[in-house]
Symmetry: C2
Subunit: 340 residues, 2 copies
Amino acid sequence: MRPTTKDLAKAAGVSLATVDRVLNDRTGVKKRTVDKVNEAIEKMGFVRNLSAANLARRKNYRFLFLLPRTGDQFLDELIARVDEAKSAFAADMVTAEVSQIDDNHPHRIAKILSGLDPEDVNGVAIMAPESPQVRDAMLRLAERGIHAVPFISGQPGTAGEDFVGIDNHAAGATAGRLMGRFAGANGGKILAIAETMQSRGSLERRLGFDEVMTADFPPLQVLPSLETYGDPKRTERIVSNSFANHPDIVGVYVLSSEARGPLEAVAGAGGNADTIVIAHERTPFTECALLSGQIDAVIAQNPGHLVRSAIRILRAWSDQREPLASQERIRIEILLKENL
Amino acid sequence: MRPTTKDLAKAAGVSLATVDRVLNDRTGVKKRTVDKVNEAIEKMGFVRNLSAANLARRKNYRFLFLLPRTGDQFLDELIARVDEAKSAFAADMVTAEVSQIDDNHPHRIAKILSGLDPEDVNGVAIMAPESPQVRDAMLRLAERGIHAVPFISGQPGTAGEDFVGIDNHAAGATAGRLMGRFAGANGGKILAIAETMQSRGSLERRLGFDEVMTADFPPLQVLPSLETYGDPKRTERIVSNSFANHPDIVGVYVLSSEARGPLEAVAGAGGNADTIVIAHERTPFTECALLSGQIDAVIAQNPGHLVRSAIRILRAWSDQREPLASQERIRIEILLKENL
DNA sequence: CATTTATTGAAGTACGCACCTCAGAAATGT
DNA sequence: ACATTTCTGAGGTGCGTACTTCAATAAATG
């Protein structure tokens, strides 16, 4: 049978009250007594029964996912996963809500963050472009006892090591390796398309992509990134321009999670079945396109993992525990039609 | 605030005792009353506080991982992950032990299973070759209230849908696709090496591999599988024979999780840096080999996920819950040196 | 040594639920 | 109408921990 606090008290030769004081970092215990208790904990391998503790504390975990509001399928998927996690974690006293921000200007987000009440929320996962204001707001949140973790889009340097998402540089490099191998050594040009290159994520992906391409596949030349700004007309125009100017395009790399627009433009502009296409994120569209052969490979991060990882990290924070690092590293998945 | 059993009782117009009878499937409640309570549960969205319930029940989860005893690095990794999971789940009253079986004959395993005491163990994850005896033993375990889940090596048809591991056919197909694309369209022969082709896993992988190769890469010819039987001398002999007989080998596919032996033999037998090598499972060796370029891609299943998934599934069984299917599907990972 | 101050212990309540007992109430059969 | 049988409610105890109160003791101070 597992030792309880009572056993601990007996073993350490102190009372339950003292054990409690030590376990919960309360004041008014001599250092020597603290040590005595800790030794006993060590010796008998005492592990606090979190369920009982949380029960007694009447604790419940209320987490918030702050997401942007785009029509992106990847985002839909994320929201669906939060919903799923909500019921999966319900028995563990975890509740999670999604709040979508119409306008993702840094000061708007910062304002929302500063308006959060520790009574309502004890953890936030934030998907927002990097910015000093948001970073600041997150630090101030932490001071008020609300833990925040950057989600997918990073606020590097905030909240220590915690970050839920992939290493975009490595993701780009992975895409580069696949592109290089798939597109062959015969040479040709590669088109890179992003919604915007303002975002840190896209920049890093491009960087990683280029590194591999120049180092290992010099015959392939990557063209300057096209930016669609989410505008279908513009997308069509710039893509067909590119194909007109570069008849030797052999591959297309879509950096952003919204791949449908760019790929429709590519199809209309002269991309054919031989054009190697690599995109990001698993969505209904990329799944279909993989199966049909329109896309050759997808670099993805698992939305379910992302959401659950965020929840586990926030819960660990909330319990003053360390999250299990090896579980929380989000993998860069490579999807082919065979391993969907 | 979340509704408690007390709230439920009030809402349903019955007493706490009756709510308890319904919640725990006890006898002696009229059907109409049961319905009344269930309606109330539905209406107020009552969710049992599992922590409190388990506390009251003095419940703890004791799980066992039955693994073979080979020197395999993949297995070492698995064991390390069980150990890790042990401490990670300790606060949730989960304990997990590993038991390695020297002799993995079906009847030996069946015997071990039948000797398990429901008092000591309430769930088992079993990694063992498919066999009717083991399957039977698992069914009989279930009757005694010990839930068993096939782990990595499958006992298809046992324990319903539960299976912790990847679809080996798809894994082989994935390997095939990569081999086809990496090895190029110039043609050549592909060497397939397995420890043994007796195992269902290897067979399925080979099948999936062949399907893709014949369908999409006809210029590449896959040679009959070599079986090493884990014997270094034999491995060296048959591999160098193959290279001697087929000077046009352009790729090697190692089907089993132990890749070191086969690859050393390949290196000694004439494989060069251009030979495309695809192997299974992430181990210290395959990691190194990926980074050095000796291996071009690894098809893997995440050991940490495997272990935790098994634990979650066993726990769900134990709580009479359904596991969250989407979380428990083990992904077929593709590892390149960029996304390690 | 007296007094203050810092530690410690004893004893209790509560958390949400499981499980037990026993006494009534309600439904059923005769 | 009566005896059964089947349901139901009231009330209690305990799970392992948190947190509180108050008294008792030990240690530090002057």
